[in-house]
Amino acid sequence: MSVTIQLKVNGRPVAAEVQADTLLSAFLREHLRLTGTHVGCDTASCGACTVHLDGRAVKSCNVLAAQTQGREVTTIEGITPEDGSLHPMQAAFKACHGLQCGFCTAGMVMCALDVVTHQPHATEEQIRAGLEGNLCRCTGYHNIVRAVAQGAKAMGR
């Protein structure tokens, strides 16, 4: 069964016909070719597919595309400035070496933005707790935690 959806993705209106069981992660990657959102597990465990739905971080492998009708989705592509610069949180990850292979990075940045937006002046402990849903196998989180704190500061949070 297919359904028609209309939503906003990265600020632009999108209309599409999708199968009712299409996951948001698959819709972004395969229909819209926004491959910056990665899939690491399909079970909402690893967080690589984290995007923002109406401003809150969600794991897009556990949201149906059909559920996004009338809503607003932001992906890593959507927070990236078009002039070739980086969002302050992206810049902080780069400066702090908060990424290695890059596969978890988009989800990690999207989660970090949610953490610092909803927990201003987050402590190290709060940042670690806030990243609980996102796995990284490369960094040991040390530099990710530093990056989130530095990114928050740069964003005035």
Binding site: R29, T35, K94, C101, L131, R137, T139, H142, V145
Partner: protein, 786 residues
Amino acid sequence: MSAAQPLIGRSVERKEDYRFLTGTGQYTDDITLPRQSYACFLRSPHAHARIRSIATAAAGAAPGVLAVFTGKDLTGIGGLPCGWLIKSIDGSPMKEPKHPVLAEDKVRHVGDPLALVIAESVAQAKAAAALIEIDYELQPAVVDTATAARAGTAVHDIAPDNVCYTWAIGDKAAVEAAFARADHVTRLSIVNNRLIPNAIEPRAANAAYSRADDSYTLYVTSQNPHVERLLMTAFVLGLPEHKVRVIAPDVGGGFGSKIYLYAEETALVWAARRVGRPIKWTAERSESFQTDAHGRDHVSTAELALDRNGKFLALRVHTTANLGAYLSTFASCIPTILYATLLAGQYATPAIYCEVQAVFTNTTPVDAYRGAGRPEATYLLERTVELAAREMRIDPPELRRRNFIRHFPYASPVGLSYDTGDYEATLNRVLDIADVKGFPARKAASAQRGLLRGIGYSCYIEACGIAPSNIAGALGARAGLFEAGEIRVHPTGKVTVFTGSHSHGQGHETTFAQVVADRLGLALEDVDVQHGDTGKVLFGMGTYGSRSLAVGGTAIIKAVDKIIAKGKKIAAHLLEASDADVEFAQGEFRVAGTDRKKAFAEIALAAYVPHNYPLDKLEPGLNENAFYDPSNFTFPAGSYVCEVEVDPDTGAVRIARFTASDDFGNVVNPMIVEGQVHGGLAQGIGQALLEGCLYSDDGQLLTGSYTDYAMPRAADLPAFHVETVRGTPCTHNPLGVKGCGEAGAIGSPPAVINAILDALAARGVTSLDMPATPYRVWQAIQAAGR
């Protein structure tokens, strides 16, 4: 333009990060080809069964299905090869059963692939796979490492007792003599828990065949695309190597698990010509758990003989290593060549003997996982040394100090020759920065809160940069272990570096560019590094064993040296000087002792626009390649200190402090090196506290998802205190580098467990296996009963 200050030694930000941070990287699953089709593998739900029949007609007729293949269809192709021949003590070669691409007569582990279904969509392929009917005749499963040789059931007919080989190293008689005169013997039984690598990017492949030129292209999550191509074409599929292009684009972590030639990509390449469409497969996480090669899984006994002053006299080890159901690509050398040769550690133990029995079981194949043999050796040795210190009432760092190797080069009794090291320096440094002096006060403060605080040490050595090809060959390697590099200077003086190393998180695009830019006096942005494509890079052995900079970087430097040598000849011609009088420094060719000079870019232009050029003596162009085969391993080493707090009521362990002091020789990018150590520590602490792969007695994988297999998350780990000492540079490569990728995973597990045992000593607990979960720690406290 010359760089204002050297790039080597600076923590420059990574060149690759922009694409990763903006979602513009290109991983294998991101690539969708025209007329793309999709694959699903039907996998065995049983650990061990004979296949009576497979009925695929219904699947073949299902909507969207293009083809269904089983093991019977893949006739005339070989099994997946093992790259290292190990011989048993009696001289007989290891048992080498066929590892079919798709199961033939039997399935031998849960997840063993039986059929390949190709369809218009993943959903259609999966739906069709569910229609395949298989008649299984179940067999008893062999699961347990320690008892596999007595199981009474054979995983493979050619190994009736499930023993692949029984191998040994060292002087058995000398060891026995030393034990006979020992004042003290420390004995320990030890298990090194099985781990599942879990790169966050699942394995994936996309294979295409072009009828136009009878060629294949394979995109695959690989750490070594040239090796993948060689093994696949020459040993399995019988395809012409030069008609197959293997591309490992951005790869989302490897940790060893993406070194190997796997069944899936091999089957896809085979099928791509038959289907006439590109075929993509991406593992679901449950497939990663079941089929990515696992790591570790040793059961050992260790005995250390000491004199009354705590001098080590001899070490005797017996290890049973689980190889899983089939021999993975490098499986056989991990518990032998990469394990037992490291048992000397940092100590001048005069005699060592180690016997290794490697067994087949009905479990996922086991191969190299970050550290690969060296973590197993270090864990065994450092647990044993710490126990000896406790038994002899000697301060653990002091016991280590009494036994450190102090004179280099040092020939160990297990076959390695350490070129350089300073173990006293890393130990002294870590004792200082970990504030070991302040431990008693911290312990008292923890006790006030009802918590047991403990401190544990670990001094590790690693052998990296594997290895001289001739020595490896003599030890059974079926491949060379060199690396290749190419420097392509463009007419404008910009440079593209091609390397056979592969970066899947290590930051080679930055580190290698720092090295080349420094040598040629260029700006970092004028050097670009390419890797991971057999169509671009001349050859490569790939990235594993912390070898990339030591071996791959040296190949690049050799090519740079050839560029400079040729540049000098061109400059000599232009400057009307003799070749011998031209010097190169800071990006300029200069006639010695004069101000006559040419910039690097001017020489590059002259090479490609050879109007005024010694064409009678010199070819135009400026492009050089080099192969480098190292003369020895490199030997990074370090000392780690861990402090834990244990809650005796719950058994919960918290890492309170973790401090590392490493000697990696020279360091090119300290930021990247520290990041590598952090990641290794996380995996080592994960092994010590959280991770453990478990099978049921009938071979079902009990830890087959992220809800069952505990991966370290941000809140599980502390902030790390990591320092690199001003080390002892490697003596046999021009950069003086040793490798840093695995150190953290090698050194940390014993430090953590030693710390927990220190915390629990007052409660009478003397032994504990990894992972030290709250339940296990609580049980140990209850069992000790104090």
